[in-house]
Symmetry: C2
Subunit: 246 residues, 2 copies
C-alpha cells in the first residue's frame, strides 16, 4: 500500500436494498434504508490494496463494511503513515469526515472487501426524520471518541502492553467476547500493526517472538492463536516490566 501508485477506485458498484441482508436490523445501513432515504444505498467490492477514499477527496458518503478488512490512516507532515485503526465488518468508515466537506483520512482495503455506501444526502434526509437513526449515528461518533481516548492511553505503554491490548481487541472483535484458543488470521502486516501502535516493525516482530517463547501465543506470519488469554490480559493490565523508556 504505497503512497500514491494505485488510484482510488471502487469496483463492481451496484444498487442495494437492505431487506434480507445478513447483517440484520442492527446494521446502520438497515436504519438508513427506510423512509425517504430508502433505496439510495449501493454496494461495492474492493480488492486488497484498493483505496475506498483518500484524505483530501470530497467526502459525500459514509460506508458500512460488510466484508473483508480496512486500514484507516492519515499521512503525517513528515510523510509517515499514522494508522488510526483497522475496520472490520459491521464497522462504519468515514465517520471522522462526516462533518467535513473532504475526507480527513484515507481508507484502504487490506483484504478483499465489500462496503455499503450511504450517500450524504440520504443521511441528511434520514437524520431529519428518524430520531432513532440520529441516535445511532451520534452513538457511533461517541464510540469513536472513546476509542481514540483509549488509543491515546495505549501510546504511553510498553511495547508488550500495546501488542497485548491489540491482540485482545482484535480477538474480541472478530470472534465476539469469547476468544478461545482458535487460530485466526491477521489481515494486516507487521508494518501496519507498528504504524497503528506507534512501534517499529522490528519491535512488533520481536514482541511477537517473545510472547510466543513465553507460551502466550502461537503465530506464523498472518496466522495467530492466543494460547494464554490470562497472561495477555495480565500484560495488558500492568505491563511486563514498567511504564516506558527506563
Amino acid at each position: 500500500m504505497p503512497a500514491v501508485p494505485t488510484p482510488t477506485r471502487r469496483r463492481r458498484t451496484e444498487p442495494l436494498r437492505c431487506t434480507g441482508c445478513e447483517r440484520g436490523v442492527d446494521c446502520l445501513g438497515a436504519a438508513l434504508d427506510e423512509g425517504s432515504a430508502a433505496g439510495r444505498m449501493s454496494r461495492t467490492g474492493l480488492e486488497r490494496g484498493d483505496h475506498l477514499y483518500r484524505m483530501g477527496e470530497p467526502s459525500d458518503s459514509l460506508y458500512v463494511v460488510s466484508g473483508g478488512a480496512f486500514k484507516s490512516y492519515v499521512v503525517t507532515p513528515d510523510g509517515g503513515e499514522q494508522v488510526l485503526g483497522f475496520v472490520l465488518p459491521g464497522d462504519v468508515l468515514g465517520i471522522d469526515s462526516l462533518t467535513h466537506p473532504h475526507f480527513q483520512s484515507s481508507a484502504v482495503a487490506i483484504a478483499p472487501a465489500r462496503v455499503c455506501r450511504m450517500p450524504a444526502e440520504a443521511i441528511r434526509l434520514r437524520i431529519g426524520e428518524s430520531p432513532d437513526f440520529r441516535e445511532r449515528l451520534t452513538a457511533r461518533m461517541g464510540r469513536e471518541i472513546q476509542r481514540l481516548q483509549r488509543l491515546l492511553h495505549l501510546g504511553r505503554c510498553t511495547a508488550e502492553q500495546r501488542v497485548a491490548v491489540f491482540l485482545l481487541n482484535q480477538s474480541a472483535q472478530t470472534e465476539g467476547v469469547g476468544f478461545a484458543g482458535r487460530a485466526q488470521r491477521l489481515p494486516m502486516s507487521r508494518r501496519d500493526i507498528g504504524q497503528f501502535l506507534g512501534l517499529a516493525t522490528e519491535t512488533v516482530s520481536r514482541v511477537f517472538t517473545r510472547l510466543q517463547d513465553s507460551g502466550a501465543l502461537r503465530c506464523r506470519r498472518t496466522s495467530i492463536e492466543i494460547r494464554n488469554v490470562e497472561r495477555l490480559m495480565e500484560i495488558a493490565r500492568v505491563g511486563l516490566p514498567l511504564r516506558r523508556g527506563g
Copy 2:
C-alpha cells in the same frame, strides 16, 4: 488535584438566559436557549481544584466553559492520569460522554472558572426541533475526533515537537490566530503538561529550559512568552533531530 480528596462540587449555581451574554450568538448555549429548551440553562462558578464531574458519575448534561480553564482526564488502570486536553472558554465539556449514561472522563478546574450547564433533556428537545443545533453539536463531536487524531500523532514525536506543538496550540487558542510576543499565563502545571503530552515532568521542564536557552521562549513558572514563533513552528514541523528513541 489528587485522586479523590476533594468531592465533586459546584458552587453558586444560578439560572441563566443567554440573551445579552458576552459570548454572543455563536455560542452553543445561545443556540440551545431557544424554542422549548429556552430558560433551562444555569451557570455555575468553580474554584481551582473543584471537579465539575468525575468519571463514572451519572452524566446528565453538557457544559459550555465561559471563563477560567479546565483539565479533562481519565484515570488509567494503573492509577495514573491521562490528560485528554485543556478546555478553555468557548469550548464544550462533557461531549465525550454525550452518548453515555455515565461520564467517561473527569473535568477539574485548574483556575477559577465559570460554566453554563445544558441539561440533557433540554439538549434532546432542541435536537428534535432545530437542525442548526443538531449540526453544531455534531460538528463539535467531529472536531473532537479530529483533535484526538492529531493528538495520536503527537504521541509519536520527540519531546521538543510535542512541547512546541502544545505551546503553539495554546497560544493560538487563547489569543486567536495572531500570537505576538505577548507574555501569557499557563494555568496548568508542568505535571499536567507532561500527563497531556505523554512526558515526564522533568522532561517538560528540561525542554522549556532548552527552548529558553535557544531564545525561542521566555518563561518563568506559569508566565510564558513566545519570542520566536517561526522557530517553534519549525521544530513542530520537522522535529529537531529525528523521529524518536534513536
